[in-house]
Amino acid sequence: MTDTMEEKILIILKSVLGVEGIDFTVSQENCEQWDSLAQLNLVVELEDAFDITLEPEEIGEMKSFEVILRLVKEKVG
């Protein structure tokens, strides 16, 4: 029942970006739905889902699934 962190993040990405067919390789570069509005929504959803706070610098770096995963891992511990 409990998704892994990776799965959770992917679900959030799918929901925010509004696309089904994405995987761990998704990034701002290869997904045109990932615009600044989506970025904002990602921040809110991630902060809410993992009970973390993302700082502006981190938000600036957060351009791919990989980075999101790393950041969330760091914050959740």
Partner: protein, 524 residues
Amino acid sequence: MRYFVFRNNTVERFFPKEYSFSGYDDISLIPEEADGYVWFYQLPVKYDMEALCDEVRGYIQKLELVLSQVSSSKPFVVLTMDDGYSVPMTSGVVLLSAIADYNASIARAEQGRPNVKLLDIREFTRQFAASEVFDWKFWFISQMGMNPRLSKPFSEWFSHKLEQIALKRKKCLVLDLDNTLWGGVLGEDGVDGIKLGGDYPGKAYHLFQEALEELGKNGVILTVCSKNNESDVLEAWNKNPFMVLKKDHFAAWRINWTDKATNIRELADELNIGLDSFVFVDDNPVERELIRQALPRVEVPEFPDQPYELPIFVKSLVEKYFRVYSVTSEDKLKTEQYKANAQRTQSQREFVDFESFLRSLDIRLKIEPANEFTIPRIAQMTQKTNQFNLTTKRYTESDIRGFIETGWKIWTLSVADRFGDSGITGLVMLNGEEIDSLLLSCRILGKGIEVAFLKRILALLKGEGSKSVFAEYLPTAKNSQVKDFYERCGFICIDEQPNGSKRYSLDLKSADLEIADYYNITIK
């Protein structure tokens, strides 16, 4: 529903996905295809108090500019401004006052424009602590004037408010009768004495009833509250030939001598509708004032002084109470249906020739002997018809009654077609074998109706045993278009005077009385 949002900050998260958004503080583009509009301007972030207040006050003009360009039939929801973040260096009254001015201008816009609805953001934000409403991080990274975490509760609140706004469409009209749905007082003037149909002002009341009937078709419940004898009203509904709104148009009525406040309360009970869904229409300012005071939840618009202002009144009724905001998907479907019908009509209008066109009009002629109801209209037509009038003899109602008594045959002609009913628009008066008067309203000319009418009358006479018919043309300054009319109908000119007047005769036995089959003629 695709609304367009005018905004000065990032607010996309707060609204449904299908909404579209202006540029930031950008009123240069007003998309006409939007289903409706939202104006959501938030307090800008500035410490310079004077500049901040100027900017806020500047939004007042911007809003007005946009409102003046937007169709008044589209809903326009304006959110008020709240102070989410500021730290007053003094008492804060200067900023408070600027925000208050801005919000007051929104209230004024709502008062002055039927499509504008004020939505007070504070209704929403007061549920939260100030720190929950404004988050500086999101201001800096995304220019958000409200914490994005509030987007879910906000969307719920917003959509709930939109529903409420839609429901504010009124449901029910309570209508007076005397001098409201017709001119005059039924109890005094009688069923055929009230002014309805025919010339002004009856014409204006008739059109008013048509408008109300159309409102009824669009889902508005029609009721009557009138100080009259119910039996008189039932008789008028039944018998007056110009009545549009009759017994079956009304969901309920109170026709009695009780006060109207009591009556309207009873109507609300009977129909199980709240008083705040009622609109009361009455020409009498005393009655209006009574209801305003006794039933403050009922809407009581002013009633026009002059019958010719009734169409303006209809427009304001519709815009204020019955059309605003209710662009639902059902309504859209109706629009589609209307469009489909219109297209069908369009294609029907591609005719090969004039005859097909006439046939397509579905012209129905009703020929009726004169009766008590129609005598006034007959007399009036003899007084007023100038162009298609063969002898231009002017008669009064008592003249007409006198003729009938001495055995004249008088028939009226009513014309209806696919586009509507013109009512009584022609008549013929026969004194024995002599056509004393033959006249038609210019409204119905150009379709051969005049010939069909005359021929049908001649056929009637022939059927009754007449052998011949005589007629005259008496020229005037205005009727030269009919100087050859009788010739065209097969009459022989047996005498002509230097002044242009002519005398005719027609032998009914040999006359060509054939009428084209695209006229549907009934004789009462």
